[in-house]
């Protein structure tokens, strides 16, 4: 018990608040796989547009579904989907950015041009292409958004690798005869994480929002399943009549993203204070 208290004392406030916020969201999300107060898709004609109350903490939607239950389910889906999007795009970004940044030259030029092109390419069009090649399905939203977000990571990783490729310790690793891949991923990569982490935070935010747009095109979360972004866009039509319908998923997104930002800010400060 004392140990736990001591651990808490050591952390900075940003870290703790961020941890609490994300922790709560994640717990609700995980819980939704086993239990929700009401069925997230159970409709009830008698309870349409109920304002928040003890019965329905966040109120009910146009089908009389319990918004809190749907938000819980939405957190689950949204967090998983956006995490995977971030993992894919960040992973691809690291791979491409590292290679182009470190080696430079023609390959770098070519890949940067493709990156620019993808960057300017409307993601709706890209998503339509992905569906028509791979068919619709939840995994494809992850895939197409993974592609969409890759260029931003490529840029960051690339510039960091350009910065570090001539660093003294990299020079020395080269002299030791360390293999190139090992230099890239064992020697340099761990050094870019503080910068990289910031963009992961931003990317996570964007992924949550982008996912909601995609279900419209037939990829991603399909009704009646809930995702936060989709709930938010569904709710826009009922803004005057049932503002809680939009506020619940909207504020939940803000909650998660803010929690995540604070968490990473906390981690960053912790790292900084170590040095």
């Amino acid at each position: 018990m004392k140990k736990v208290a001591g651990w808490f004392k050591k952390q900075n406030k940003y870290f703790l608040v961020g941890l609490a916020m994300t922790g709560l969201a994640v717990v609700l999300g995980i819980l939704s796989f086993f239990w929700t107060p009401y069925g997230p898709t159970t409709m009830s004609a008698a309870e349409r547009f109920n304002a928040p109350s003890f019965r329905h903490v966040f109120g009910t939607d146009n089908f009389g579904r319990d918004i809190f239950s749907r938000v819980m389910q939405g957190i689950g889906t949204t967090v998983i989907v956006s995490s995977l999007i971030v993992v894919i795009s960040a992973g691809a970004g690291i791979l491409i950015g590292a290679i182009t940044g470190y080696f430079g030259g023609i390959l770098d030029e070519a890949i940067m041009r493709v990156t620019d092109a993808v960057n300017a390419f409307p993601s709706i069009l890209l998503a339509l292409v992905v569906i028509s090649i791979l068919g619709s399905g939840k995994q494809n939203v992850i895939f197409s958004l993974g592609i969409v977000f890759t260029p931003s990571y490529v840029r960051i990783v690339r510039s960091e690798f350009i910065r570090l490729r001539d660093a003294d310790f990299v020079c020395r690793a080269r002299l030791m005869g360390v293999k190139k891949l090992r230099i890239l991923f064992v020697h340099i990569l761990p050094n870019i994480f503080s910068v990289f982490w910031v963009s992961v935070t931003i990317g996570f935010n964007n992924a949550i929002l982008a996912e909601s747009g995609m279900s419209y095109l037939g990829i991603g979360v399909q009704p009646p399943d809930a995702s936060l972004g989709k709930m938010l866009s569904d709710a826009q039509g009922y803004l005057g009549r049932a503002p809680w319908y939009a506020l619940a998923p909207g504020l939940t997104i803000v909650w998660i993203v803010l929690g995540f930002s604070l968490l990473s800010e906390g981690i960053r400060r912790k790292e900084a204070s170590k040095k």
């Binding site: 898709t41 159970t42 409709m43 004609a45 547009f49 146009n62 089908f63 960057n119 409307p122 993601s123 709706i124 998503a127 339509l128 569906i131 619709s136 958004l145 969409v148 977000f149 931003s152 931003i202 990317g203 964007n206 929002l209 982008a210 909601s212 747009g213 995609m214 279900s215 419209y216 095109l217 037939g218 399909q222 009704p223 009646p224 972004g229 866009s233 826009q236 039509g237 009922y238 803004l239 005057g240 009549r241």
Partner: protein, 530 residues
């Protein structure tokens, strides 16, 4: 991170009730047919058609919210329903549909049909003027009809007019049209717009017609503005000086604009939007004359089995969909015929019932070899919110009968290509719209017809339809059409749901709005109340 923004967008595109956007031809309604019923959602106001107590005033400007952009200002080339509803105010044909669905004379003052049904003779009305001030001549009529029917250059622009074989000027006031085969329903095609001779190719900078309003300006994505035609042949019309048909990007935006009172009139409200606006606007409602259904692909499993199709029809709780999606204002239907086409419509709702018959559905599924239920995907065009909501309601409700629907939203053009044209689907919720001819709805379910995207195949149905088409009296036609409907319902070719209502919000300062049984916004009778 620009990317996010682009994706989100998609959510906000046009949502309209009613299905195939381009799916109307300009033929209009039989003379005997319907009286569109007008109901009232809010209960605050009488029907919108006539408000005899209020005194009409002249003048004023009105902003009408429309959902879709104009596809063409050429009345013969325009195919989108959203365009035609606007062009109705600018162009007129020899004949014109009125709010009862009857044909009235417009550019023509009179017409007659030969006994064999092959020759139509039109007498032109005196002093009908184009917006450019010139009188309409027989030349103009000949040119317009030839252009629309393809006699001019071999490219027919309006498919129902392809039956014409010649258009002849008898004298300055008389035009004679001959056709290759007799068909009672052809007369509706003469609502095709009359435009000045030669204008289709040469003039062109302004759409010029004879309607109550004349064209002022058009900006893509923003809208179209028309102004009063002072020379309109109908005395005393129109009332308004100017109408701005403003394109509103989506139902949600429309709601905001209504709340901000930046538009005066908007159709296609969803039920909950209507309720939300009830205090600020007159809310009027009438059937939309679209047939919403869960279309079942008869050619693929599990719907190649008639018992499975019937099971779906039994399991489906249409009342619930009606209640949830349109607030109970829809008309439940079971066959592919509009209730407003009273002569041809037969109420077959008793066959499967309007509520859910879970037991019967389960039993039929078991008989069909699916004792554990079935699972299939339902493709829904994502831009039509009502269909998406219907799908959600039905999917939830039919689970009880062991029927699992996986909803799959697709973009509209994908739906057109994959479902409507490609028949690559198991089930789909959408609606088909109609003109006022019964054949338009019924013809498509013949075996091998190119619009038969559900692959319905019944020799009995085909025979009944053929007889109906050939019939020379309305009574006879009605008899065979009804027979065809019964066959279709018995075979459960598809699970029809309802004719959803069309609900409009009208500024409290306005009156005189008329619902039409076709998809038009007639602004000529709308006026500001004192």
């Amino acid at each position: 991170m620009k990317k996010i923004s682009i994706t989100l967008m998609a959510l906000l595109l046009v949502a309209a009730l009613g299905g195939c956007a381009g799916g109307k031809s300009s033929g209009d309604k039989s003379s005997t047919a319907s009286n569109p019923t007008q109901s009232n959602v809010s209960g605050q106001q009488g029907t919108g058609t006539s408000d005899a107590k209020t005194e009409p005033t002249y003048g004023g400007k009105v902003v009408v919210g429309v959902q879709q952009d104009i596809d063409s200002l050429d009345p013969h080339k325009a195919t989108a329903a959203g365009t035609k509803e606007i062009l109705f105010n600018i162009f007129e044909g020899l004949l014109k549909v009125n709010e009862n669905g009857s044909l009235i004379c417009a550019v023509a003052s009179d017409y007659s049909v030969s006994e064999d049904g092959l020759t139509y003779t039109f007498t032109l009305r005196d002093n009908v003027k184009f917006h450019n001030g010139k009188n309409v001549t027989a030349e103009d009529v000949k040119y317009s009809l030839e252009r629309a029917s393809g006699l001019l250059d071999g490219t027919p622009l309006i498919s129902s007019l392809t039956k014409l074989t010649s258009v002849d000027i008898v004298d300055a006031k008389t035009v004679q049209v001959t056709t290759d085969s007799a068909n009672l329903e052809l007369i509706y095609s003469f609502t095709a717009a009359i435009i000045p001779a030669g204008s289709g190719e040469t003039e062109g900078s302004n759409p010029i017609g004879t309607g109550p309003f004349s064209f002022v300006s058009y900006k893509p994505q923003e809208g179209l503005v028309v102004k009063k035609n002072p020379d309109y042949w109908q005395q005393g019309l129109p009332y308004l000086d100017e109408v701005n048909f403003k394109i509103v990007s989506g139902a949600d935006t429309a709601l905001l604009e209504l709340k901000g009172h930046s538009i005066d009139l908007y159709s296609y409200l969803t039920d909950s939007q209507a309720l939300e606006l009830a205090n600020d606007y007159q809310i009027l409602s009438a059937p939309s004359d679209a047939l919403q259904a869960m279309f079942l692909n008869n050619a693929v499993a599990p719907f190649d089995n008639v018992k499975v199709r019937q099971a779906v029809c039994y399991a489906m709780d249409r009342d619930l969909a009606n209640e949830f999606v349109v607030g109970g204002n829809g008309t439940i239907i079971s066959a592919g015929m509009l209730p407003t086409l009273k002569d041809y419509y037969v109420d077959l709702n008793d066959v499967y019932g309007t509520g859910a018959n879970i037991e019967k559905a389960k039993q039929l599924l078991a008989e069909a070899g699916y004792p554990n239920g079935i699972e299939f995907s339902v493709i829904v065009p994502s831009n039509y919110e009502a269909h998406v909501q219907t799908a959600e309601v039905l999917a939830d409700q039919m689970k009880e009968a062991g029927i699992t629907c996986k909803i799959e939203l697709v973009e509209w053009n994908t739906w057109l290509e994959d479902v409507y044209k490609g028949s690559k689907f198991q089930a789909s919720i959408c609606a088909i719209t109609s003109d006022m001819t019964p054949s338009y709805l019924m013809v498509r379910f013949q075996k091998g017809h190119k619009k038969n995207f559900i692959n319905f195949a019944s020799d009995e149905y085909d025979a009944a339809y053929k007889k109906a088409e050939a019939a020379m009296t309305i009574e006879e036609k009605a008899k065979y059409y009804k027979e065809a409907q019964e066959i279709f319902v018995k075979e459960a070719g598809t699970a029809f749901i309802q004719d959803p209502p069309i609900t409009i919000a009208l500024s409290k300062d306005l009156a005189g709005y008329k619902f039409y049984p076709i998809y038009v916004q007639d602004m000529s009778t709308v006026y500001f109340v004192k």
